[in-house]
């Protein structure tokens, strides 16, 4: 089995190399300021698709945690949300690069850029919330609740807000590339290949992350003997302090 996995890893590496080479052999795209750099699109396009799929999957895992209170669902949700954030970051980074190459500025507060930045802020807030709660059960339930509450605004910011009439008019970012059949021929095949490779990679990373998360759960816990840095003392709790004994000196 281990040998098979090793071969599969090699196969994946070869496929990734082949798709990368293929992406450089296709003719430059028409209608761009710098056509050769339009290849950034091969990564810019599949990442939000995978991010959305993983984001919705995280929503399902969060719901399952709240319904069952099985901590394994929280581990799965955390793994999925981490991968989602990575895909959002790659989308944002490739978008910023594309903006500089095509529109001549790294950041221009385009509605699509800004709405995506807000999505990232929601995800960072999710991690901030997780990091601020020490108790594992409470951390799991609160972060699941926050994620489900944030899912609506996230989908609104990605799919509805940039398509609002007033917003779409003032944005340079295209919103109808697929609907209008602008992605076709070899470009469409390369995007599909990139999407497939990124899906395989994310499934693999997800599996590893969940495995590591479940192993961490099996670690022995020392209960109250451990110092919990995330929790603050409950106000009525009075912690004992050491007072120097002056009579001994």
């Amino acid at each position: 089995m281990e040998k098979l996995i090793k071969y599969l890893k090699w196969l994946f590496a070869l496929a990734a190399a082949a798709v990368t080479l293929w992406s450089f052999t296709v003719p430059d795209a028409a209608g761009f300021q710098q056509p050769e750099f339009a290849r950034v699109f091969f990564w810019h396009f599949p990442c939000p698709i995978l991010g959305t799929i993983l984001g919705l999957t995280t929503g399902w895992f969060s719901y399952k945690y709240l319904a069952t209170h099985d901590i394994a669902w929280d581990v799965r949700a955390e793994a999925a949300v981490e991968l989602t954030t990575i895909f959002w970051l790659v989308t944002m980074a490739s978008g910023i690069l594309f903006s500089e190459l095509e529109w001549g500025t790294w950041w221009q507060w385009d509605p699509r850029q800004t709405s995506f930045l807000l999505v990232l802020l929601i995800y960072f807030a999710y991690f901030a919330l997780r990091g601020s709660i020490g108790d594992e059960t409470r951390k799991a339930s609160h972060s699941a609740a926050y994620y489900l509450a944030a899912l609506g605004p996230t989908l609104f910011l990605i799919y509805v807000f940039p398509r609002l009439h007033q917003i779409a008019e003032s944005s340079l970012h295209p919103t109808q590339s697929i609907m209008q059949g602008q992605i076709k021929g070899e470009y469409a095949y390369i995007i599909l290949a990139t999407l497939a490779l990124a899906s395989i990679l994310s499934a693999w990373l997800y599996r590893l992350r969940v495995k590591a998360g479940l192993l961490l759960l099996e670690e022995p816990s020392y209960g109250n003997l451990e110092t919990n840095r995330s929790d603050t003392a409950h106000p009525p709790v009075v912690r004992p302090i050491r007072v120097p004994d002056e009579s001994r000196e």
Binding site: L66, A125, A128, L148, A149, G152, P153
Partner: protein
């Protein structure tokens, strides 16, 4: 067992009595409104604020007034040790609706005071009071729903005061975007019918967003409240 309406009424009454006794929330909101408007008036001294800028500034001020005051209603329950009693006496849904109604009224009052001061100090006119009122109403619903929910989530976390703002603001920014679109038209001048229609659509969107926030909040709140 009491009906849910009685429980909601009791929670709202408790919040109102607590507020009247301490006057923390209203005093903080009013002071914040005054300070914000004076700061804006000072920053734009001798200049005319255009309607786009005015609607944005006003909504940012309302947003921060909400984020500063609203999560307090949940956080103080934990700080004063009264949350467990409330858990025993009322259903989570009743607590959520009670706190939301109180928070909604509080932020609506704060928003109107803030707007009144803002329009007075900056000499920006208001062309469509109806659209403005609907915009503030929808915004208040959404702000109350999200801030109450976020308050419950951070109530027992470390650095809760800062965290409440950090997790609530990203959720509220889509609402602010819709609010700004509606307010921009309400401030005017309304040059054509289609401009007014766009404002009405934005305000309807804002009200729907507020209702959706409350509906999602009531489904999720019990999990945060009981754990």
């Amino acid at each position: 067992m009491n009906s849910i309406w009685a429980e909601i009424g009791a929670v709202v009454r408790k919040e109102a009595l607590t507020e009247m006794r301490a006057r923390n929330g209203i005093a903080t909101s009013a002071l914040f409104a005054l300070v914000t408007v004076v700061a804006i008036a000072l920053a734009t001294f001798n200049r005319t604020i255009d309607k786009d800028m005015a609607s944005g500034l006003l909504w940012v001020a309302i947003l921060f007034a909400a984020v500063i005051t609203l999560p307090r209603v949940m956080v103080t329950e934990e700080e004063q040790g009264t949350a467990d009693l409330l858990r025993m006496l009322a259903r989570p849904e009743a607590v959520y609706w009670g706190k939301c109604i109180f928070n909604g009224c509080q932020i609506m009052a704060a928003s109107f005071i803030l707007s009144f001061l803002f329009f007075g100090f900056t000499h920006v006119g208001l062309e469509s009071p109806g659209l403005f009122a609907l915009s503030v109403f929808g915004g208040s619903m959404g702000l109350a729903g999200s801030a109450t929910m976020c308050g419950a989530l951070v109530a027992r976390a470390a650095n809760r005061a800062m965290l409440a703002g950090a997790i609530a603001v990203p959720l509220l920014l889509p609402l602010v975007a819709l609010g700004v679109s509606g307010m921009r038209v309400a401030i005017g001048p309304i040059e054509a019918d289609f401009v007014y229609d766009a404002g009405v659509r934005a305000v309807i969107g804002l009200d729907c967003y507020g209702i959706a926030t409350l509906a999602i909040g009531v489904l999720i709140f019990p999990f945060a409240w009981k754990s």
